[in-house]
């Protein structure tokens, strides 16, 4: 990580430490546990992936067994549904007993809720498992799309953008953005990306920005309207060049990440990508992809971020929600999440800070035939400021949103 | 042999014989089939016209003016049918109802002429553009008859066509029907003895047995 991000991360962490020391006196974890016992926590989280749904169910079983907390997974088609719900409750004057106890959230949604005062907190640094989180080595755990979390959300998984391909059909995948473009042009109809404003699609665009901008550091600051057009010109030039050779000639795009994955599974495209380095192995284990699928990253690194959970200000079961947030940071749970047979998500924990027994859990994991080792994953590029995603997304729709 | 020749036509339903008819009806003669409701009379007409519901079967043959009709589809049998309700199509005017019945292949002007001539004949001149619902029961019965005859059928089946009409009208309409159908073999199904007497032809029951009035 460069000096600028290191400085920002250090500041964020210091702020959190200050907050957490105050909180250490303010909240007694035992009383939270006692209050949480018997509660039913409604965790609103995207429900489009069975493996994630199963994992959440697994957390629910652990919560019930360890703490007597029942977990209900409310399956969403989009996180914004839960945000809208809390907002509607706030507008209707409902300041307690809200329907949403916990939200799987990050990025824009988090920024929106935080700005509108819809979140309960700060709570994360007071969680008993917080010291295990690798805030220094994984700055994305305390900085959400350049916004400091300030303890209003607790991380639970790391994501990094990786490409996927079938090694039986493609011998040597491209290693730079320009090699990718050349490959696309040479193999028309075998590449696509999810349609913006889909999250993964926008991430692909951001990844392209990192590759075409002369000075990517621009991305860490909010969008400057004066220099925006000049800055993004290479992005649109890149897209204009590859679109005619895209799947369906860019007249249609897959809707989201799983849809893109399904295209790879169906053989319609030959290079796909995902935000989860372990997704391909997990899919192979589940029998959805052939075992010749592999992953690769670009030289220079790919974008990474963290997924968080946040608690709405009017949550009916705040104590239970906090117990769940803490439980997700438990090393046993984190190791289970990283197991490709379960999920294949990257952990947010600092392995060096774990006890030998817990460390062993991680070492014992078979990451899967398609997953790159942490060393091979390469550098992690930080998420740009949220305003970039918004503006680029809008402009994409303006330029390509209507087929000619 | 002209006319309707029925050779032991028997309607079967679930193994039993429901109705039977046998005989020769020359043009101009009316065969009356009498019996109480539900005795199978209407089934005979349905069989003759080719509209038997599933589950019924027939044996025997029927020849009309030398053509065997039992194997033909309804459209080709050239047998006209009058129900007890006039079943005039409410979405068509009187003239259009009649035009519906008139045989095809005639030019537009000629069609109009035929229709008007028929309206005159049944005493409803000038009522062409009218909505059938605005006509009286007797008038509607006459239009229904006219429609059937305009198709130039070679035989006519009457399924209790006068039972909906009041006493005064009945005789009038009956006379008109028999007058207009004077050149056709006719089968009349009824439970009214007056109808049978006016028909002045042989009378049988649903199983083909001769009745005396």
């Amino acid at each position: 990580m460069n000096r600028r991000t290191f400085g920002k991360t250090a500041l964020s962490t210091l702020a959190l430490m200050a907050v957490s020391s105050r909180l250490a006196f303010a909240a007694d974890w035992q009383s939270i546990l006692a209050e949480a016992k018997g509660q039913t926590v409604y965790w609103h989280a995207w429900g489009g992936d069975t493996k994630i749904n199963d994992f959440i169910a697994f957390i629910g079983a652990e919560a019930k067994a360890r703490h007597g907390v029942t977990l209900e997974h409310v399956k969403l088609a989009s996180t914004a549904d839960a945000v809208a719900r809390v907002l509607a409750e706030r507008d209707a004057g409902q300041t307690t007993g809200g329907a949403v106890d916990l939200i799987w959230i990050n990025g824009e949604n988090f920024a929106a809720m935080k700005a509108q005062g819809l979140l309960h907190g700060p709570f994360a640094p007071a969680l008993p498992n917080w010291p295990l989180v690798d805030t220094m080595g994984k700055p994305a755990t305390v900085t959400d799309f350049t916004l400091p979390t300030e303890g209003y959300e607790s991380p639970w998984a790391m994501a990094q953008f990786v490409f996927e391909y079938d090694s039986a059909k493609l011998a040597a995948p491209p290693r730079t953005l320009h090699e990718l473009a050349a490959w696309i042009l040479a193999n028309p109809g075998r590449f696509s990306y999810p349609q913006p404003p889909d999250y993964l699609g926008l991430t692909f665009l951001k990844q392209v920005l990192y590759g075409v901008l002369p000075d990517p550091a621009l991305l860490q600051a909010p969008v400057d309207p004066a220099s925006y057009d000049a800055a993004t010109a290479p992005l649109w030039a890149f897209l204009d060049a590859i679109h005619p050779a895209l799947w369906r000639e860019a007249k249609a795009f897959p809707e989201n990440e799983p849809a893109l994955g399904q295209l790879l599974a169906d053989g319609e495209i030959q290079i796909s990508f995902a935000f989860n380095p372990g997704r391909a192995s997990a899919e192979i284990a589940a029998g959805n992809l052939p075992d010749t699928v592999r992953t690769f990253v670009l030289e220079g690194g790919t974008i990474g971020n963290a997924s968080f959970v946040a608690i709405p200000f009017n949550a009916a079961h705040q104590a239970g929600a906090q117990v769940i947030a803490n439980l997700i940071l438990d090393p046993a749970i984190q190791a289970a999440a990283q197991d490709p047979a379960t999920l294949g998500f990257q952990t947010v924990l600092n392995l060096a800070a774990l006890s030998p027994t817990d460390r062993a859990r991680f070492d014992a994991l078979d990451l899967g035939v398609a997953t790159l080792s942490p060393a091979d994953l390469g550098p992690v590029l930080l998420e740009p400021h949220a305003s970039w995603m918004v503006k680029v997304g809008e402009d994409w729709v303006k330029r390509y949103g209507v087929t000619k | 042999m002209t006319g309707l020749k029925i050779d032991n036509l028997t309607i079967h339903h679930q193994g039993a014989a429901l109705a039977r008819l046998h005989g020769h009806i020359p043009p101009g003669q009316v065969l009356t089939v009498m019996g109480p409701s539900g005795s199978g009379k209407s089934t005979l007409l349905a069989a003759l016209i080719g509209a038997l519901p599933p589950g019924f079967s027939t044996t025997g043959s029927v020849t009309l003016n030398g053509r065997a009709v039992m194997d033909l589809p309804t459209q080709d049998r050239r047998i006209g049918l009058l129900y007890q309700d006039d079943v005039l199509f409410p979405h068509l005017s009187v003239e259009q109802n009649l035009g519906f019945g008139l045989t095809p292949g005639i030019g537009k002007a000629e069609r109009r002429a035929h229709i008007h001539a028929m309206l005159d004949r049944i005493g409803l001149a000038g009522l062409g553009p009218r909505d059938p619902a605005t006509l009286s029961g007797g008038q509607r019965a006459r239009v229904a008859l006219a429609r059937t005859l305009l198709a130039a059928p070679e035989a006519l089946l009457l399924d209790e066509p006068f039972s909906r009409l009041d006493q005064a009208l009945r005789a009038q309409i009956r006379a008109l029907v028999f007058e207009l159908a004077a050149t056709l073999p006719v089968i009349l199904v009824t439970h009214d003895a007056e109808d049978a007497r006016a028909a002045a032809g042989p009378v049988v029951d649903a199983m083909g047995n001769t009745l005396s009035l």
């Binding site: 429900g47 399956k75 719900r85 409902q94 000639e249 949103g401 | 509209a51 095809p104």
Partner: protein, 557 residues
């Protein structure tokens, strides 16, 4: 007795309130943001607006017209034949298939990497990789139109068959045939006009759905841009919530479009009305049309049944599939893993869905019967039809958000009861549509005869009218259950996200592309209404096995 009669008189008002209040509140709650926050400005700034409007109108009108023509073809050409009876028995499961499941099945069938391509590859086509063909999500909306037609023909057919007895079809067909008319021509000239008049309501419901549906459009429809309704949904769900005014403005425009489409339809009706009488006057028998039209009707019926059936079969196979790659026609291996993992959740979800469906449908049935009976006993006819059509014509996306705020303000917690209450608003019109024609067409002379014998109105209702209308009542109930099972937005928005129905499950999964689980959920989604329709068909047949006059009409001979 008097109390009951008095209470019965209130039934129409209960129905008016039950429908009108949620709609009014919902509309106000959704349209207000459009007006106060410059929603229309941002709407017109969207470059996809003209195309989305054209798509909405185009797919809606084309699919509705096609479905109607096909329905008439089926009844006119095939009515009464054995093939028609078979197709009728396929009707119930096809009807029970929720739109989303049908769309997903069709999508897998026709996609370039879909079942048809897999079955034909590589031996017939030479493909070892799927071709890059724009079949699904085509910008012209053809795939969407096809999906809509396939789903709406069974519905229109059922409505037409329910209305057919009131058109005196068998006798008219017999007369037309005896006058020498071909089957198709005879049908068009004698039975189609009154039949269509009774079908206008369902046709408008089909038109409204065709123009404003979100689930089928998401799966089969274009995405650049999407249809207007899909875009409105996307705006409502956008993070930051600052697209709400745009969404609201879009909802207003969608509303206006539906109105315009219906006005256009009525205009065309008016202009083409003189055609049939003119044809009748000319007396052309149209015998030559029968053979080709029959073949066409049979082929279309087969195409629809096979399309939907194979689509569903494909989903079912996926639910048991191990690894399944292109161009294999069948999976490498079969497994029960998907079902085993899904079973506990699926059972719970199915029970919730069934509970809500029964609650909403029975309530709707009760209100409908009470109101219809009140109308029968009073001297004045009720002018309820406009209010009843409203939930069918108003896009759900236009008033559900407002309804959500209303529920919150009233303190109604998101639970199965709130969802059932919301479902009532959308189930009631279909139950009414399905039942009212048969109810009103009941031979009043029977009631009069009984009354003359001194039988009380209550006894006439319970012992005469209701038993004689058993088939329409059960069908209406089955329709209500099917409609409820297929609801998405009401379940999502008014359940606070806590109420999981089979359809919310399916849509959440559809956004994830997991065909195996979708197959399992789709099967359950279909099973519930299918049982309902099966009972609706079977029970009257059992009850009236020896009463030929009670069984459904037979088509033209």
């Amino acid at each position: 007795m008097n109390v009951a009669a008095r209470a019965l008189g209130l039934a129409p008002w209960a129905l008016r309130l039950g429908l009108g209040l949620p709609i009014a509140a919902g509309l106000a709650g959704t349209l207000w943001p459009a007006l106060k926050d410059h929603g229309f400005q941002s709407l017109t700034a969207w470059p996809g607006l003209p195309r989305a409007v054209a798509l909405s109108l185009g797919t809606g009108l084309a699919s509705t017209l096609s479905a109607l023509v096909i329905t008439f073809l089926l009844i006119g050409c095939l009515g009464g034949t054995r093939g028609f009876a078979t197709f009728r028995h396929l009707l119930s499961p096809l009807l029970a298939l929720p739109h989303a499941a049908a769309a997903l099945g069709l999508a897998f069938l026709i996609a370039p990497s879909g079942w048809i391509a897999r079955a034909l590859s590589p031996w017939a086509t030479g493909w070892s990789d799927p071709p890059d063909l724009m079949i699904l999500n085509d910008p012209g909306g053809l795939a969407l139109t096809a999906g809509l037609v396939a789903k709406e023909v069974p519905f229109l057919l059922l409505m037409a068959l329910a209305a057919l007895p009131q058109t005196d079809a068998p006798r008219r067909a017999a007369i037309a045939a005896s006058l020498g008319y071909g089957r198709a021509m005879g049908f068009v000239l004698t039975t189609l006009p009154p039949l269509y008049a009774r079908l206008r309501l369902p046709v408008f419901a089909v038109l409204a759905y065709g123009m404003t549906n979100v689930d089928m459009a998401l799966i089969l429809g274009p995405s650049l841009p999407s249809t207007l309704a899909v875009q409105i949904t996307a705006w409502m769900a956008a993070p930051g919530l600052d697209h709400l005014p745009t969404a609201a403005a879009g909802a207003v425009v969608q509303l206006a479009l539906v109105g315009a489409a219906m006005a256009l339809w009525r205009l065309v009706e008016h202009l083409t009305a003189p055609l049939i009488p003119a044809l009748a006057l000319r007396g052309r028998r149209g015998r030559a049309l029968d053979a080709p039209l029959s073949t066409l009707a049979r082929s279309l019926a087969l195409l629809i049944a096979l399309g939907l059936g194979t689509g569903l079969a494909g989903l079912v196979v996926w639910s048991f599939a191990g690894l399944w790659q292109f161009p294999d026609a069948l999976p490498d291996s079969l497994t029960l893993k998907t079902w085993a993992k899904a079973a506990p959740d699926l059972t719970a979800t199915s029970l919730t869905t069934l509970g809500i469906a029964l609650a909403a449908s029975l309530a709707a049935l009760g209100l409908t019967l009470a109101t219809l009976e009140a109308e029968a006993r009073s001297t004045r006819p009720l002018r309820l039809e406009p209010l009843i059509y409203l939930p069918l014509i108003l896009p759900q996306i236009a008033f559900l958000p407002g309804l959500q705020i209303l529920a919150l303000t009233l303190g109604a917690k998101g639970n199965a009861a709130t969802v059932a209450a919301a479902h009532l608003v959308f189930v009631l019109p279909y139950v009414w549509l399905s039942l009212a024609p048969a109810y009103r067409a009941w031979d009043a002379r029977i009631g009069l005869t009984a009354a003359a014998m001194g039988v009380s109105p209550a006894r006439i209702f319970w012992h005469l009218r209701l038993p004689m209308l058993l088939a329409p009542v059960l069908t209406a109930l089955a329709v209500g259950v099917a409609v409820s099972v297929g609801q998405y937005l009401p379940s999502l928005m008014l359940g606070g996200g806590r109420v999981e129905t089979l359809t919310t499950e399916a849509v959440a999964l559809a956004s994830g592309g997991n065909r195996r689980l979708i197959g399992a959920v789709a099967l359950m989604q279909m099973a519930l209404p299918a049982m309902g329709f099966g009972l609706a068909l079977a029970l009257p047949r059992l009850a009236f096995a020896n009463r030929r006059g009670m069984l459904a009409e037979r088509g033209p001979a």
